[in-house]
């Protein structure tokens, strides 16, 4: 169940993400990698406590150490103001409009997914690509977040099991192991 999007919106999002980053050979496509979950958890960051903005540190456990990425940082009042402005928009609240209204990601996604059409999941791939190209501003936003969800740390909801990193030959977060001097200079 999505954290913030409706099931129908999530389905459109998944299909759109797969057009941007489709499966290739052994590599997963965006939806298989969890990119829609990444985006949904960003839009619904404040449905979690602490909000899912910054994963913890210093290690993920993938190369030793504790699995500390799963403990998200708490936000200060200013952090929360910034991220609520970014995600929810200013919504007419004076404390968020000190430099004018801010349109939040939630509104941009709701409108952008709607613009792709309720039948987006049913039309063929060529039509899906055409609709994405017809909405370049939203597609640019969606692609940026898709890249983050695809190739970022799995704790944010995407890059499931680190498979996208494997597909592109990236070792991911390597602390606390790091690399030996020999691996650095003479791999």
């Amino acid at each position: 169940m999505p954290a913030w999007l409706t099931d129908a919106e999530f389905a459109v999002l998944s299909a759109a993400c797969d057009r941007l980053i489709p499966p290739f050979d052994a590599g997963p496509g965006a939806s298989e990698a969890g990119v829609p979950e990444y985006i949904d958890r960003l839009l619904g960051a404040f449905t979690f406590d602490p909000p899912r903005i910054w994963a913890g540190g210093p290690t993920s456990g993938r190369y030793g150490g504790e699995a500390a990425f799963t403990t998200f940082h708490r936000l200060t009042a200013l952090d929360e103001l910034a991220w609520r402005m970014r995600i929810e928009g200013s919504q007419g609240r004076p404390e968020r409009e000190f430099n004018g209204p801010v349109v939040g990601l939630q509104q941009r996604y709701r409108e952008g997914l709607s613009a792709l059409g309720p039948d987006f999941t049913e039309v063929d791939e060529a039509e899906q690509v055409a609709r994405l190209r017809a909405h370049p501003e939203f597609t640019e936003l969606l692609y940026g977040h898709s890249c983050e969800g695809m190739y970022g740390a799995p704790e944010y909801g995407g890059n499931r099991d680190g498979r996208a990193w494997v597909a592109i030959g990236f070792d991911g977060d390597v602390q606390p192991r790091g690399w030996t001097d020999e691996e650095v200079s003479n791999p």
Binding site: A55, F69, L78, F98, A153, T180, V184, S185
Partner: protein, 546 residues
């Protein structure tokens, strides 16, 4: 109680001052508007472990601040652009405990003697207000040595034929050279250049109770998860360990209060928005070359040169795709550099003359690997070939790059002032930057870019490409905004109050107890990263106080 000094900013400048003053027995309060992710909140003399190898957190979500929604800056290229062209980021350095030292990849070169005397050595440059510094290299050398020991700098003495003289060895030997840097150094040497191991504030061996770097590769724009980067945690740990320092994080200094020739203290806005006055015998401003002039202007100081002469380093970036893996993700981001393009040669002098310039200087050239996967992906097309292209990784696994930190001359028109309308979340006017590069920077970049590409060709590049930061010609936003993260020169140091804001000791002219301890005081920008020089100047200013 009135403390001996309040220090505004906890980056390399403020931390250095705090270290010197507390060692001398002074009581200090360090005020930092950003969060504390550097020191253990329960025991501030010990490190925290909030940093991680997490591209989303550090590159995409403003973990180190500033968040441009809360603390925007505004930008325009020139006054004719109107009030502003852009609201958001401008060449941001972290707003966090530790400041710019946290995200830096740790290269800490010294300047060379020439860098302090451009006017007398080379003469004026049309359009720029080139001047000599009010101190020379020899006067600063002991402080360079002091801060190298304080931070923990690794380097190889004698490896750079252009290096300034040193009074002693580097505190540590250089760390492991990166695979790609070994190849780029070989190629550069074949073409007559002189690459050498970059002096780095990164431990090559355990130093000062912090571990040796384990080469994870997440350096630039990341905090170090194991604190092998010494700048400025080393100074802050020592400072807090004296018991004579208090750290106020998430606290904004909105004004330095002035009465006659003296500051009486600063006005603070705390984490909960509560305002109060903090009295202090001395005020040290080390907020960086954008926020320092902003604070002075918010404080009502009216010297006409406050904010003038902003310099950022004009970056010439060249990249080549190699037919082999360069392993740029392993190691401490940049292990080799060369100075040849600062020093110049017959060809560069001829190019300057042809362009009608009396002289020109490039900058330190960093030998660097490729990017991280999210960054790479955002530069690649979406669609059916996306993953195939990502797997071939044109700008990561096979990429090698040179970044030249070109000397940026001081122009009075490049400046920081207060935006007339845009405010931060606390309600204070934000810094507005007016900036565009001059002819000198453009000519130098155009001259050196193909020469850097020739080194990449010598390495075997399949293709090369070049760009600059900021963009040139009719570059649109945001490309017209510099991204060097080096900001300098907005509160110029000099002996004459008519042509400088700060005296040669680092104090604001006509104010007995206000010291500026960051790169704001730089007279010229050299072609080297500013950190070690600003820390040396801060150490000198602090020693002159006690």
């Amino acid at each position: 109680m009135t403390v001996d000094a309040v220090i505004v900013g906890s980056g390399p400048g403020g931390a250095t001052v705090a270290d010197v003053l507390t060692a001398a027995g002074w009581s200090v309060v360090i005020v930092e508007k950003g969060r504390n992710h550097l020191l253990d909140p329960d025991q501030l003399s010990q490190p925290a472990f909030d940093y991680s190898n997490d591209e989303i957190k550090f590159h995409n979500r403003y973990f180190l601040g500033p968040d441009p929604l809360i603390e925007p800056r505004t930008f325009r290229s020139q006054e004719e652009d109107g009030d502003r062209l852009h609201v958001g980021e401008f060449n941001s350095v972290p707003t966090t405990v530790g400041g710019g030292g946290v995200h830096a990849d740790g290269k800490v070169p010294r300047f060379r003697p020439d860098d302090f005397r451009l006017l007398s050595q080379f003469g004026p440059q049309p359009g720029a207000d080139v001047a000599d510094w009010p101190l020379d290299y020899d006067e600063l050398e002991p402080y360079y040595a002091e801060v190298e020991r304080a931070i923990g700098v690794a380097g190889t003495e004698g490896s750079n034929p252009f290096a300034a003289p040193r009074s002693g060895p580097f505190p540590m030997p250089s760390g492991a050279p990166m695979f790609g840097a070994i190849r780029s150094s070989e190629a550069a040497e074949k073409l007559g250049y002189h690459p050498y191991p970059a002096p780095s504030a990164v431990n090559s061996v355990p130093y000062d109770s912090r571990p040796a770097c384990n080469n994870c590769g997440f350096c630039a724009f990341f905090g170090c998860p194991i604190h092998a980067k010494g700048d400025p945690i080393a100074m802050l740990q020592r400072t807090m360990g004296t018991g004579r320092a208090e750290l106020l994080a998430e606290t904004f200094v909105s004004r330095v209060r002035i009465e006659g020739r003296r500051a009486t203290g600063v006005d603070l806005v705390g984490p909960d928005g509560t305002e109060r006055f903090l009295p202090a015998r001395h005020v040290v401003v080390a907020a960086g070359a954008i926020e320092t002039p902003r604070l002075l202007l918010l404080s009502g100081l009216d010297h006409p040169l406050i904010g003038r002469y902003l310099m950022t380093h004009f970056q010439t970036i060249t990249a080549g795709s190699m037919p082999y893996r360069t392993y740029g993700e392993r190691g401490r981001a940049v292990t080799h550099v060369h100075d040849d393009m600062i020093v110049g040669d017959e060809a560069s002098r001829a190019a300057a003359a042809e362009a009608g310039l009396p002289w020109m200087r490039g900058g330190l050239v960093e030998h660097s690997g490729g990017g991280l996967p999210i960054m790479e992906a955002k530069h690649m097309p979406w669609g059916e070939h996306h993953t195939e292209i990502m797997a071939s990784s044109p700008i990561r696994r096979g990429l090698w790059a040179f970044i030249m930190q070109g000397e940026d001359l001081p122009y009075a028109t490049n400046r920081v002032d207060l935006d007339p309308a845009v405010k931060d979340a606390r309600g204070f006017p934000v810094a507005r930057v007016t900036y565009k590069p001059g002819k000198h920077e453009l000519v130098a970049s155009a001259h050196y870019s193909p020469r850097l590409m020739a080194i990449l060709d010598e390495m075997g590049a399949q293709w090369t490409a070049g760009t600059t930061s900021p963009g040139t010609g009719n570059a649109s936003l945001p490309e017209a905004i510099p991204e060097s993260r080096h900001n300098m020169g907005t509160v110029r140091m000099g002996p004459d109050p008519a042509t400088s804001v700060v005296d040669p000791q680092g104090r604001i002219h006509d104010l007995d107890n206000v010291v500026i301890a960051d790169s704001s005081v730089f007279v010229t920008s050299a072609g080297y990263g500013p950190t070690l020089t600003l820390a040396a100047l801060a150490a000198r200013a602090a020693h002159l106080l006690v």
